[in-house]
Structure formats: C-alpha cells, structure tokens
C-alpha cells in the first residue's frame, strides 16, 4: 500500500488554503497540520517509497528514527503555528506556512539527494513568501536578500549533488566523505544552518516576517539543515569548532541587540551551534544530543518567538528601547515567555535541561573538554540575554516611548488563540522537562543518559544562579539603546556602497569639472530597488560560473 506522505498532505493543504474562503483558513491550517502529524505518527521506521525518474530510482520517502524525530516535531509545530496565527495570518501567509512545513518534512524524509534538493528549494521558495508577507519595504528588501543568499546556497548544493553523481553514479543520501563534490554540498547545508560567516541572512530576514511567520521560519529552515548535517556529515571535526564559534557568536550579538526579535534570531544561531558541535563529535550519544536539542529547540524557540510576537502584536513595536513596563498589561504573556526562557536556559524541569545536558555532555564525553566549557560559556550568555535581559527590558522597569510620540502607550488585547498556542507549547516544554523519556524515546538510538543526577542539578543551578548575580551587578551596562549591530552582511550591504562612494569621490577630485550652462532641474530619481542589481547580477553570474566549472571538471 502506498504510504501517505506527510509532506504531500501539507502541500495539498497549502493549495486548498490558498483558494478556500478566508474565514475557513484558520481551521483548515490547523486541520492540515493535525492530519500531517497523524501521517507522521503512522509511519514506521524503515518505511520507504520510490519513484522512477528517467533512469534513476528516487526515494521520496525514507523513514528512520532520525528522520521521524524531526518530522514529528515539525508536524507538531505546524499545528501550534496554525493555532497561534489563527486570527492574524492572511491567506497567502497560511499557504506559505503550510508549504514551508511540507517542504521541511519533505527534506527530512527524502531518501536521495535529488529529492532532497527538490524539497530544499521548495522550502526556500515558500519561506521567502513568509518574509514578503510582512508587507513592508523592509520585509521586501530582506526577502530579496534572503532569496539571493539561498539562491547561492541552492546552486552550491545542486553543483555538489551533480558532481557527486558524475563521480560515483550515486544519488544516495547517507554519510558523506568530505571531498570536492561533498564540500559544495556541505557549504550549501551550512549556509542554511546559518553557520558563521554565512549567518547574516537569518537575523536580517526573520524579524521582518509576520508575527506568526517568524515562528514558522524558526522551526524549519535551520533545523532541516541540522538534520541533513547529522545525516551526511556526522563526525566531521570541523563542525565541532564551527558549532562552538556559532554558539558564542550568537550570544555575544544577543547581549548587544536592542530589537527583541533580532535578539532571538541571533539566539537561533547560538543554539544551532550547540547542535552542529554535537554533530561534529559524531558519536551515537552526540547525534542523540543534537537531535534532542533540535527537537526541544523547535518547541521552546517557537514559544519564545510567540511571546515576543504577542508583545509586538499588542504594542506594535519590538525594540527594547521603546518597551518596558508591560508586566501589568501582559502578565500571562510574561509567564508563558518565561517557560520558554527557562527551557532554553537549561533550567531543571524544563525541556532544555535534558536536551542540553545530553548534547553538551556528549561533546565532553567525545574528548572535546575545551569545547564543552565554551558551550557552557554560551549557556551563560543564553540565560543572561534571553531569560534575564529581554524580560527585564520588556516587562519590567519604566515604560519607554519613542521620541516622536506622547507619554501614553496603547496596549492591545492579545487574541485567545495566541494564548492557546503558547499554552500548548509551554505544556510540551514542561512535560519534556519533567519526563525526559518523552524526548529520549524519539531519538535515533537508545538513550541511557540520566539528566537528573545530584551533580548535574547542582552544576546547572549554580551556573544559572551566578549568571543572575552577574546580571544584577552589570545590569546598568545592559541598558537598551537604539542601535544596529553590523554583521557579516556588511560585506554585501554596505561595503559596495562605500567603495562606490570612494571611487566617485576620487574621480571627482582628479577630473576637472567643466563649466556647464545652467540645466533645468531633473526629476527626482526613482526609488532604490529592493535588491541592488549587482547582488542579483552577481548571484546569477556566480551560479553560471559554478555550473560551468562543474561541467568542465566532470
């Protein structure tokens, strides 16, 4: 009997939602997510489905313990996002969310590299619509940059897949040995995982999406990249140190960030760093750790983004320097946010504790003691910025206003559907924290790790307590300021403009200015395009050069 592919359920659901009456959109989105969840649960490990594509037999569904762990949490968060966005999402947004979810599940269930590439690009194509759904000039520009960056990543991935096909005649997707062809594939995966220095697209695009769109984006893009890294490059030592660098980089930027959605976006980079480091260790325990961390992360990061999304919905703003004093107006949002914050910080009895202990512990057990301590340093930064700084600046203290508005600030009611989704996500995080077997039973191999020992509880409690003491001592230095932190996107967003200005200035200095008659005033120049032509042109030329290079080498 042909298996019901969960991705197909979601993609058909996306088409239905796109044409169905708007009033049915919320119910259809949630129902589609529930059917997809049921389809994932119904899949047995070892299930495969193939199809003929010219002379190749491609595997469009291959379920095993690793892929099912990711597929299960992907389907679950689709339902949560559907509930969360019930009263805020538009028709296009719902369809794009279901499309992204379907493509994400398609990636983790793909059994060969060509099918993987198809779903990979489908994921980019639908995810960018969630950025555009922000419907502002800023989201348009961020969406185009997202598209440009991921176009390059997609071309690299395809180049690697084709090169490997020509070299080996195989499209099989399993453990890959690093060489020229798989190097292209690796860079394509790392770009989607937001590995530094290929990370800037993430904090650029996610905060510009809609309130619910950001929740969807955070669940699928980087986590499907974590899955393919675990599947293809487990044990690659480079990933250990790359992951550690990502973990620290993300929290340093989060400590500085004023925009609370950008802060959490930088935190995605940091948390993915934990997963990448564990994948680099590559032992069974480490792959379990990376998978457990990814699974829990989808749930607690979703909850955190729902919380700040509710603040944004209620106040229309997301910079800490214009927030503060919301504890009376949005107390339940604070409580639910704090459940997510406790989870991501690894507080005992919340989901992050069993997940992070397993991941970080496996890095130390793998012989990378220095990496383990650096990940603990990143954990300090996580608690500091997500659980202490962000709530302190958002919900407590004096209400801060923008310079161009009066002292009064209106805080709108938050829809019950938002509370319902946050409540469900919080319940899931607490349930996993209290009963880690709920998480560990999903892992690729049997987990014998015991998180709740006296030693681990004491260490975690002391780590968190003294971070809080440090925050108390240094809180004045964390005062919010309306500033923007430059990231590696400076290279393609600001450097060309500066070079152009420098060249123009230099040319104007050297060339004599001719005497010109008075000319009639010119009409105003057209508004700047959302994407500079050199970016688009560069991406296209780069893609052509890569395809040409692969053809020649092959």
């Amino acid at each position: 009997m042909a298996e019901l592919h969960p991705a197909l359920v979601l993609l058909v659901g996306a088409l239905v939602v796109a044409i169905a009456p708007r009033r049915l959109g919320g119910a259809l989105t949630v129902a589609t997510g529930l059917i997809a969840l049921a389809a994932v649960v119904a899949l047995d490990s070892g299930t495969t489905a193939t199809y003929a594509f010219y002379t190749y037999e491609l595997v469009w569904l291959q379920a095993d313990a690793l892929s099912l762990a990711f597929a299960t949490v992907f389907a679950l968060v689709t339902v949560l996002a559907g509930v969360y966005g019930w009263s805020t999402m538009g028709r296009l947004e719902r369809a794009a969310a279901l499309g992204t979810a379907g493509a994400g599940i398609g990636v983790v269930l793909a059994g060969d590299l060509l099918t993987l590439f198809f779903f990979w690009e489908l994921k980019v194509s639908t995810a960018v619509l969630l950025v555009f759904a922000g419907r502002r000039a800023r989201s348009d520009a961020a969406g185009m940059r997202y598209l440009g960056v991921h176009l390059v990543g997609g071309v690299l991935l395809l180049a690697g897949v084709l090169w490997r096909l020509i070299d080996t005649g195989s499209l099989e997707f399993g453990p890959l040995e690093l060489n020229g062809a798989t190097g292209f594939i690796l860079v394509g995966f790392l770009l989607s995982a937001a590995a530094i220095p290929l990370n800037a697209w993430l904090p650029d695009a996610y905060p510009e999406s809609t309130i619910a769109g950001t929740v969807v984006l955070s669940a699928f893009t980087t986590k499907s990249a974590v899955y393919v890294l675990a599947r293809g490059f487990a044990g690659l030592e480079l990933l250990v140190w790359l992951g550690v660098a990502m973990a620290i980089f993300g929290v340093v930027y989060a400590v500085l960030e004023d925009d609370i959605r950008r802060l959490l976006s930088y935190h995605i980079i940091s948390q993915v760093g934990f997963m990448v480091a564990a994948i680099g260790v590559g032992t069974e325990a480490a792959i379990n750790g990376a998978t457990a961390h990814a699974t829990a992360h989808v749930l607690y990061k979703g909850l955190l983004l729902m919380g700040v999304g509710a603040v944004l919905y209620a106040t229309g703003r997301s910079r800490a320097s214009t927030l503060g004093g919301l504890s009376r107006a949005l107390p339940w949002v604070l409580v639910l946010y704090l459940v997510g914050a406790a989870s991501i910080s690894g507080v005992p009895l919340f989901s992050g504790f069993p997940a992070k202990e397993l991941a970080v512990g496996s890095v130390g057990d793998g012989g990378y003691t220095a990496a383990q301590w650096l990940l603990k340093l990143a954990s300090v930064g996580t608690f500091l910025s997500v659980a202490l700084k962000l709530p302190a600046l958002t919900w407590f203290g004096e209400a801060r206003t923008r310079g161009d508005e009066g002292p009064a600030r209106v805080v709108r009611s938050v829809p019950v559907t938002m509370y319902a989704a946050m409540g469900l996500a919080a319940a899931a995080n607490i349930a996993i924290g209290i009963r880690p077997a709920l998480l560990y039973d999903l892992m690729p191999t049997a987990v014998t790790f015991e998180p709740y020992t006296v030693k681990k509880l004491v260490e975690a409690t002391i780590l968190l307590s003294f971070t809080a003491v440090g925050f108390w001592l240094l809180r004045a230095r964390l005062a919010p300021a309306a500033k923007y932190s430059l990231d590696t996107d400076w290279v393609y967003r600001e450097l060309p403009g500066r070079l152009a200005t420098a060249v123009r200035t230099d040319g104007e200095r050297r060339l004599p200015r001719p005497d010109l008659p008075d000319l009639p005033s010119m009409p105003a120049p057209p508004t700047r395009p959302v994407i500079p032509s050199w970016v688009l042109g560069g991406a296209i030329v780069g893609a052509m050069v890569l395809v040409l290079a692969v053809s020649v080498v092959a």
């Binding site: 919905y313 003294f466 440090g470």
Partner: protein
C-alpha cells in the same frame, strides 16, 4: 565617601561573597564538582560576555537612522478592524 565604603558596593560585595560561600558549601556537601569552580566560572563568564560585548559594540554598532526608526512600526499597529472581533483575550486595552 569613597567607592570602597559606598553602601551599594558593600552590599554588592557582601552578596557575591555570601553566594560564593553558599555555593561552595553546597558543592562540598554534594561532592558535585571542584568546589568554587562553577560559581567562579559563571560569574567570570558573565563579566567577559557583557564587558567584551560592550567593547565589541564600539566597533560594530551604529545608531539607527531616522529612516529605520520611521519604518519600524510593524503591521500590528495597523491591524484591520476585523481582528478586533477575533480578540477575546483576558487582557484589555491598557495605557502605559
């Protein structure tokens, strides 16, 4: 009054020392880890992250431009009237 005799500083030092002593005692009693290592690590890491980030900020941060501030308001403030009918949250409209 010098900085060292400032009550605020004295309180801070007192709190930190008391916390360190308590944490070290707990570590000794439970035989959890090398006494004093984890509290000093956490405290040191917090200082390194915050002060290091502030130094880095001098290099990588710039003030938001007027255009960026003007365009930052997100669609939430311009929500359609139909949204209001969907709202049944327990938290009413507040003026803060």
């Amino acid at each position: 009054m010098s900085a060292l005799t400032s009550p605020t500083l004295a309180v801070r030092i007192g709190v930190v020392v008391a916390a360190l002593v308590l944490a070290t005692l707990v570590e000794i009693v439970t035989d959890a880890s090398v006494p004093g290592r984890m509290p000093l690590f956490a405290l040191g890491a917090t200082f390194v992250l915050v002060l290091g980030a502030k130094q880095l900020a001098k290099l990588i941060q710039r003030p938001l431009t007027a255009e960026e501030i003007a365009t930052e308001h997100l669609p939430a403030t311009a929500a359609t009237a139909s949204d209001a009918s969907d709202e049944a949250g327990s938290e009413g409209v507040h003026h803060g």
